[in-house]
Symmetry: C2
Subunit: 196 residues, 2 copies
């Protein structure tokens, strides 16, 4: 077993950062990780806008009510609809770009950096705000923003493993599902309330 | 720098597997990795159907024209619409479940296993085929299937890094975009084709 499991659990949403910049080598490594993600039919429908200019970061924060974090680096992960899978499979771009995003977060964790994924798509207001800021053409949609920097807060590793989300061979157990009656005092309440 | 970058590049789509089963400990580790993924507002809108029964795997393969791989294990990653973010942000479930899926693939790679992500949602035909096979209720949507097993093929590590997908501070360069004329011989073709 490798330490990948440990890194996966160590990846926590970090929202406070020091002023230390992320180096060019680290940015390059993050982008290589992103573009190592799988994609439907290997279409790689992604584009990445790297923001490390403080003025533009400030403008980005101003547009993201739930993404005002002081990271020195933001990577906007975008989907290019001209490269995306055609019609009935178009939304595969969301999967592809999400896999690229998750790779960025894990690569950051592995390099000792902190990161947080701020969701943009499918919130129209946020899509328009980010698109206009970074000058996206019509066919390019921002999926989300990865803020990355040196962490100024620590969180313990964790999985949120929940056995009740795991099903074997099929979803519902074969046994008939018995619901608890919502009215715990027998049939009292329905008395006289004929439903026929 | 940790070996996470190496594992991210080593994760390739593996479609041929030996008969050796994936152990219970390995399955547990894959699910812990999956549920360590981030999700919008930490809603964890996921459910996992683990299939390692050969008959049911056979039935799954029969329903997936582009997913007939001989892995001894399939994990169907599903989104639960009752747990998903409400209306305008509903599609965040695709991001959340994709991050969980990517964690499964990377965890598998780290454990020396091979894996491949077979996309299901948003292809209606596949969604219905898988839902009926594993008995999903209406509100649970299969996003994709991770086939996992001991690899019977090897592929070299790679990133598909492409510098043309990287943009700095904003998408389009400030310089005006000059298009090559599609007709390379001057204005010849438009002569006499008045557009006024």
């Amino acid at each position: 077993m490798s330490d990948i499991l440990e890194i996966i659990k160590r990846r926590r949403s970090i929202r406070k950062f020091t002023a230390e910049p992320v180096s060019q080598e680290q940015i390059q490594a993050l982008l290589e990780a992103a573009m190592a993600a799988p994609s439907a039919s290997n279409r790689r429908p992604w584009e990445f806008v790297v923001i490390n200019d403080e003025k533009r970061l400030e403008a980005l924060r101003a547009r993201l009510p739930f993404g005002r974090y002081n990271a020195p680096l933001a990577i906007v992960v975008c989907g290019d609809m001209r490269r995306a899978y055609p019609a009935p499979g178009r939304d595969f771009w969301i999967c592809d770009c999400s896999a690229a995003m998750q790779n960025i977060l894990l690569a950051a964790t592995g390099m000792g950096l902190g990161s947080v994924w701020v969701g943009i798509y499918p919130i129209g207001l946020l899509v328009r705000a980010v698109s206009s800021l970074v000058n996206l053409p019509e066919h390019v949609i921002p999926l989300g923003v990865a803020y990355v920097g040196h962490p100024a807060e620590t969180k313990p590793p964790r999985t949120q493993y929940d056995a009740s989300r795991v099903h074997w061979q099929e979803f519902a157990p074969r046994a008939p599902r018995r619901r608890k009656p919502w009215w715990p005092f027998g049939k009292g309440r329905s008395k006289g309330e004929g439903t026929a």
